[in-house]
Each structure stands twice: as structure tokens, then as C-alpha cells.
Symmetry: C2
Subunit: 133 residues, 2 copies
């Protein structure tokens, strides 16, 4: 899977209209996934070229699981499939921001939560506190 055009000039990469993902040494880009309606950050994961292609084609979230080393159709087993409303990329095209609508919000995190970000660093103790909201 390498249909994406590569090696644009820095100017074209940053200011152009051509999609040219900059995959890292492991063939991955970062995927930041937030809720399209609430704006809440849900999870951060990775995509290889095939996962990105499938995400663009199906408008659902496909990822690359680094731990399982396999393509991962998010929610295929839990029911927490994510319909993708919008996909943005950043200046150097090594990160993609997916705005999604999860079909089963409570299982977005494998711990059974709506978001993977459920703890904040306490500035005084340096320990983690549960996020209350």
C-alpha cells in the first residue's frame, strides 16, 4: 500500500492541496481521535498506509495495532465502531485528526470508558487524579 505521493517540497507539504502522509520509520502516522459533536479527545493511536486508506474509503476508523501488529477496525469486536465525520492533517502531514461519532460511546477505551484520557497529573503531588466531569 503506497498509493500516496511522497517527497513533496516543504512548501508543497505544508501549503499544498496534495495528500502526502509522512509515515515514520515504522510506516506509521499518529491518529488523534476526538468526538465530532462534543469535541472531547477520545484516544490517540496509529495508522499505516492501509489503515489510512481504509479510513478514507469507508469513513470509519481503521488503525494499526502496534501491540498486536495487525490492522484494527476500531470497534469491530466491541461494537464501538466510529463513523468519521472529518479528517484533518497537520502542517507536516505526520498526524491525522479524526472527528468521529462512536456508535457505542462507553467502549471507546478498552477499559470501558468514553475516553482513554480519564486521569490528570496533580500539579502538587505529581500523582494521577481521576478526571471528574
Amino acid at each position: 500500500m503506497s498509493e500516496f505521493e511522497q517527497a513533496l517540497s516543504k512548501k508543497d507539504l505544508e501549503e499544498g492541496s496534495k495528500l502526502s502522509p509522512r509515515f515514520d520509520a515504522n510506516g506509521l502516522v499518529t491518529a488523534v481521535i476526538s468526538d465530532a459533536d462534543s469535541g472531547q479527545l477520545l484516544m490517540v493511536a496509529h495508522m499505516n498506509a492501509e489503515a489510512l486508506t481504509k479510513t478514507l474509503e469507508t469513513r470509519q476508523t481503521w488503525l494499526w495495532s502496534r501491540s498486536r501488529k495487525e490492522l484494527w477496525h476500531k470497534g469491530a469486536s466491541s461494537g464501538a465502531v466510529q463513523d468519521v465525520a472529518d479528517i484533518l492533517t497537520d502542517c507536516d502531514q505526520d498526524t491525522f485528526w479524526l472527528k468521529v461519532r462512536p456508535r457505542k460511546a462507553e467502549d471507546t477505551c478498552h477499559t470501558g470508558r468514553v475516553s482513554c484520557f480519564y486521569r490528570s497529573v496533580n500539579p502538587d503531588s505529581g500523582d494521577l487524579d481521576p478526571v471528574t466531569k
Copy 2:
């Protein structure tokens, strides 16, 4: 810089109150940075242990520049210093979400924009369109 406790059990890593960042093979965690007030995603970058420590100590954004291979006090040269209101981590503690207030919003991206995410993938053409809002 390795003051962070490592090798927690999976349960303690995910459910505990101990900060135990899981740095990757390059010694980095992902930093997702959004605006504390508007919620807008501003940029995605990386932190090594020293950058994370300095961010926690100073409550300003410190990063590791992979291209320049150096510690990076965000905004030190441009004036776009970011005051950190809150720092969250995710289930497996390999990503940190910084909610910040930039002192000079328009220079958050090195292209002179408020956010690095200024283009979206057009679902029909597959090309990038400017984000209008």
C-alpha cells in the same frame, strides 16, 4: 532524567494513581496540545523525560524536537509560550494531553497559524481543502 517509576503491572498502569510514562524506543511520549478555553486541537508533538519533567515543573510546554534533536521550550523564540492549565494521560500512559493557553495564539504553528490542523481531506477528491472557520 529517569525519575519516573517504570514497569508497573498493566492494572496499575491503567487504573493506578502513579505517574509512569511509557516512553517509546526513542525515549519519547506523544504530546497532544489543545486550547484550554476553546478546546481546539493546536498541535501534536513529542516529549522526552526531561521535557515532561520541565513541563510539570514550570507549567509551560516543553517538547523534544525530533528534527533539531534538542529540548524545545515551545514559544521561547516566537513568543508563543504556552501556559499549561491541565495535563492528562491515557490508559497506557504513552500519550499526554496538554490543555494550554498560548500567550501569542497566531504563532502556535510555525506557519504562523493558530493551529497546525488547517487542512482537511476532501472525501471525494482525496485532496486537502483549507479548513474554513
